[in-house]
């Protein structure tokens, strides 16, 4: 194994390469297997069909919207969890992680019981003229529900590691809390914030169970790419495989693009 001159990987025993390689293959081989099944001659027509394009566009739009909602809600949540101390905060932290453990379909059912027509908040919303079920908003809600914990875990960890010393200095220099947040806290945890956002986006993109249970499935409104793939399996397995590969490519592109843009600072 060649390493760049001047560096040596200390603390990496030789045997570690074996399970590492196995793990890598375990993830890559299914993707390769999928790629070999694709009917390449009809690939382009399969992924540019009307339903496929509608699904892809909807997926990208809703995932982007969900990521924004995750940021708007998740950044303050991470700050509170990382910096505050009050009785019950550990319980709160565990509860916030629940969507990670919950089967997505169960999450969808829970959302239905909350925002559905007969749900906890649904009845009040109905009266106010707001209909959430079967709408694109429902898709965004479902995706946010499952993706939020990714952002919160990632960012809270980064905030704890960074500590609050720089914030104390900034305050002593006269910066108001919002200024401290904007100019000191967030820039210092930028890598953690970015990777959290990417994880959330990826999770939202691949979300299926909660979406289909809560939002339903209608082309152009709620049928995201994963739902479209699942539907195509009924009649056109070739289309399903082609679209699956498309989803993988989109996910890889998004992750790669954000890694490129990361500033190479020595901090984290």
């Amino acid at each position: 194994m060649r390493v760049s001159t001047g560096e040596s990987a200390v603390g990496l025993p030789r045997w570690a390469f074996v399970p590492a390689a196995m793990g890598g293959l375990f993830v890559l081989l299914p993707l390769v297997a999928m790629a070999t099944r694709v009917d390449w001659s009809s690939y382009w027509s399969l992924i540019t069909s009307e339903s496929a394009r509608a699904a892809l566009l909807l997926s990208l739009q809703t995932s982007a919207a969900s990521t924004v909602v995750c940021l708007v809600l998740g950044v303050p949540m991470s700050l509170v969890l990382a910096r505050c101390r009050f009785p019950g905060i550990d319980l709160l932290r565990s509860l916030v992680m629940v969507p990670l453990v919950l089967p997505p379909v169960v999450g969808g059912i829970a959302l239905l019981y909350t925002f559905g027509r007969r749900g906890l908040l649904g009845e009040t919303l109905q009266v106010a003229g707001v209909q959430i079920a079967f709408s694109t908003a429902a898709v965004v809600l479902a995706q946010t529900f499952v993706a939020l914990p990714f952002l919160v875990t990632s960012l809270e960890g980064a905030l704890r590691t960074a500590g609050a010393r720089y914030e104390a200095v900034a305050a002593s220099l006269g910066a108001r809390p919002t200024t401290v947040l904007r100019r000191v806290t967030l820039p210092l945890v930028w890598p953690g914030l970015l990777s959290g956002a990417v994880l959330s986006f990826a999770r939202a993109l691949g979300e299926f169970g909660a979406t289909i249970t809560f939002a339903g499935s209608l082309q152009g409104v709620t049928r995201t790419l994963p739902l479209e793939i699942y539907l195509q399996r009924e009649t056109d397995p070739d289309a399903a495989v082609a679209l699956s590969l498309l989803l993988v490519v989109v996910a890889v592109l998004v992750i790669a693009a954000t890694r490129q843009g990361r500033p190479g600072r020595g901090l984290l």
Partner: protein, 256 residues
């Protein structure tokens, strides 16, 4: 000392477990060769086929019928990939034909038909009485997606009646449609007669005279090169017999 006790305990457990593996699951008449018959059936056949399986086990001592319910296309995919099924019962002929084309099944026979019915939440809050009512744009209507058997039937009925239905969602399976209706999220849904019967008080059914225009025919066939070829044929015979047909009728199916 503790280590020895622990080791003895583990050994004892292992022996019991191994002994347990040796007996057949339904072995109440003490036969020591347990045979398993694997039946793949469409999801809408759940209640009726569980009943039929019991009847088959009662008349065939020592045989354990293992049922696997899923969407017909999922089952087709599994059989194509070599899943160990002995019998396949599909919710429509289109899916069975795929296996026929691949020579994966023996000659299929139709054993039941199913027609559509409108399902509404108890109390029929939206006041749906006819097929035409479903075309109301303000109605929260949920259908099966056209790609699944019940959705294909719904599309046929829609076309025959010259209507343009605007569903709020096209679900993956009949179960999901029914689920949305029972939860009160949908005002109405198009499901099978058998589904309304099985849901009991959770839904009300509104009869659909136009359903005769889209009848789903259910075929059954023994899988080629099955491990239990003889038993498979016997099971098919049971399904087609008078007893079998009576069982199916009890669940709401009509004859083939």
């Amino acid at each position: 000392m503790r280590k020895h006790i622990a080791a003895a305990g583990v050994a004892a457990l292992a022996v019991t477990a191994l002994a347990g593996c040796g007996t057949s699951a339904s072995g109440d008449d003490g036969e020591d060769t347990g045979t398993t018959l694997t039946v793949f059936a469409a999801a809408s056949l759940k209640g009726s086929f569980e009943d039929l399986a019991e009847q088959f086990e009662a008349s065939h001592g020592g045989v354990d019928v293992r049922l696997s319910f899923a969407g017909s296309s999922d089952l087709v995919a599994q059989i194509q990939q070599g899943a160990p099924a002995d019998v396949f019962a599909s919710a429509d002929t289109a899916n069975m034909d795929k296996l026929v084309a691949d020579d994966l099944v023996a000659a299929p026979q139709d054993f039941a038909t199913n027609t559509l019915e409108i399902a509404v939440p108890p109390g029929n809050p939206a006041g749906v009485h006819t097929l035409a009512d479903l075309a109301d744009p303000d109605l929260a209507l949920v259908l099966c997606a056209p790609e699944v058997p019940c959705g294909a039937a719904s599309a046929k009925v829609e076309e025959a009646a010259g209507l343009d239905l605007q569903p709020v969602s096209e679900e993956q399976s009949v179960t999901d449609v029914l689920g949305k209706v029972t939860a009160g999220e949908a005002d109405a849904g198009l499901v099978y007669v058998t589904d309304v019967a099985a849901a009991g008080d959770d839904v009300e059914g509104v009869e659909l005279p136009e359903s005769a225009g889209a009848v789903n025919t259910y075929p059954i066939a023994p899988v080629a090169d099955a491990t239990q070829a003889d038993l498979a044929q016997e099971f098919v015979d049971l399904v087609l017999s008078d007893d079998g047909q009576q069982t199916l009728a009890g669940f709401g199916f009509a004859g083939p």
